[in-house]
Symmetry: C2
Subunit: 345 residues, 2 copies
């Protein structure tokens, strides 16, 4: 990172004049362990799972939309597909817990853990073994992508009901009241939003998921708490995406975080392995209020703020060209001496 | 635009969930006059000119950097070159007023109006004929680019001293005090900054360049005032870039505005032709305070906020992939009925 920063100051521009593009490239140098960081093959990993909590009417869309959108990803018609092609990114689409059987598609990674989580307002969302399985499968997916050449991992999610699960996790992991981190998801009305908040608050009390204030701000890993949280109010795709972060970080591959669901997954990952935070890049700031809380807790500043709230990795895919640009500027610009330009030193 | 907005709401995403990407595409539909706006060939037009005011010591870099950087653009080593290649954009580099003779380069558009402007703290920066010539040459450059197939015009500037000229123009056109719209340019210290502010305030008084408050907020064109302003405190590249905006707008081609210099040029363009504002897209928010004032006066919200302050079109080039992405999402995403996805209507 020191060598990357030193090179930035030799390039034909006033020092610091490319702002966050410079610090991003320096950060990437640290992640990749190389003063000339490069991104050649971004991989978007979209993991899908259904949520039992939808039975309580927390979403504007029916749960059948989860498998329909998974098919849309496989056929290339969703926003994330368009943005993946635009950015030259590969896509992996994985079923970790869609509530129905999916048609056989060669490109679909079928690793269903269960037919959706259980309704966390009635019982824990999953078993401890399922929580661990989701994370393990996520780690494997990251490893597969990296073995195939991925040098940037981009997180995407699909699951009707998953803003409710994510808000519950973010409330627990940041210590904020549910009302502050719960949004309107796909677009629910006031009455539904209040029900969503009440269900989350009740679950955090029932399952005793509030961390003491001291632990909230410590950088101490708390693996039992993290697994317990995922198990009670999480989702299979959230556990999976947490695993993807852990797998990528362990291989020193940067991870581009999308919206509130992948934000919750990234937050969980740092609760399990503190150092995972050094491999995270926040692509954008979502309209979902929990996203802001998650990014603030992670100490991340988003690259984009375009009022997105779609998920599926769309905001992260949109930021890929910025991350690639940051690398290219550092590697390809002429230095003052190469270009014969007078510096002000 | 109505047809583009209607199509947005048939695509497989909750209505409005792609936020500003949706409104950007709808705006582009209006500019191009077509419900499926497309960007195939962005052209970055970088215009260079020197400034007599540099004799008063307002810049951290010597004026010799202007021609050196022009050569850097022609050789492909500057930030804007890297970002142009990244975005698949063509570049036009034009000399409208560099203070020295430039070596003959086939790619350089040599349309020097004079060897730099005069020192506006002593006399008007240029003659009225020169101001008109700069604008006319800019219109021609836009026409050339559009004739070659450009469907997005991206503004770039080079000129040591031009943040001083731009701040003066923005102060006059927005009615704000010079101290509020004057920044540190390439990085001057406090003493130099104060001198810069004082020179601008004095010039605005000397040349009587303060518009009455009523006119500031009217949408009435005031061509004599605009030309007078450019003539007294402007620059050849600023006049040229104003012409590029006018030329592009007259051909219904969208214009991506970069930092404070191109912001001043865009503001001037709307003073000459009010409707030019409908063809402007703000790429980013510069660190330069005058840029925020110019964009606010134009009613533009920037796409990026990455603390850039380099100019030369670098921030605008960085935003090209976002503008292209907005078009692709509108054109390439599947609709709910095509994809067999349940809508919530």
């Amino acid at each position: 990172m020191q060598r990357a920063a030193a090179r930035q100051n030799t390039l034909t521009k006033p020092n610091g004049s490319l702002g966050r593009l410079e610090s991003l490239a320096i950060g990437l140098a640290g992640m990749q362990g190389y003063e000339g960081p490069q991104i050649h093959l971004p991989y978007i990993i979209v993991i899908a799972g259904d949520h039992g909590i939808t039975r309580q009417g927390v979403s504007a869309y029916p749960a059948e939309v989860t498998p329909q959108m998974v098919l849309n990803y496989l056929r290339g018609g969703a926003a994330v597909n368009v943005l993946a092609r635009h950015a030259g990114a590969q896509m992996i689409v994985a079923d970790f817990g869609v509530a129905v059987d999916m048609p056989a598609y060669p490109a679909l990674v079928s690793q269903k853990i269960a037919y959706g989580t259980r309704d966390f307002s009635v019982e824990p969302a999953m078993t401890e073994a399922q929580a661990e399985q989701a994370i393990a499968q996520g780690i494997s997916l990251a490893n597969r992508a990296i073995d195939e050449g991925a040098d940037l991992i981009v997180l995407g999610d699909m699951g009707i009901g998953n803003t409710t699960a994510s808000a519950a996790m973010i409330a627990a992991l940041t210590g904020k009241p549910a009302a502050d981190v719960t949004g309107r998801g796909t677009g629910v009305d006031n009455v539904t939003w209040k029900r969503k908040v009440a269900l989350i608050e009740q679950a955090l009390i029932t399952y005793q998921l509030h961390l003491p204030p001291y632990d909230l701000h410590s950088e101490t890993e708390n693996i039992p708490f993290g697994l317990n949280l995922l198990r009670h109010v999480g989702g299979f795709e959230i556990g999976g995406l947490c695993g993807v972060v852990l797998g990528a970080a362990s291989r020193r591959v940067p991870v581009l975080v999308d919206g509130v669901i992948t934000g919750a997954a990234a937050l969980l990952a740092t609760m399990l392995v503190t150092n995972a935070r050094y491999y995270l890049i926040a692509a954008h700031l979502s309209v979902e209020p929990g996203h802001r809380a998650a990014l603030a807790h992670l100490g991340l500043t988003p690259l984009l703020d375009l009022e997105l709230r779609l998920g599926e990795g769309s905001g992260a895919a949109l930021a890929i060209p910025l991350v690639v640009a940051a690398c290219k500027v550092l590697n390809e610009m002429a230095t003052f001496s190469e270009a014969g330009v007078s510096n002000n030193g």
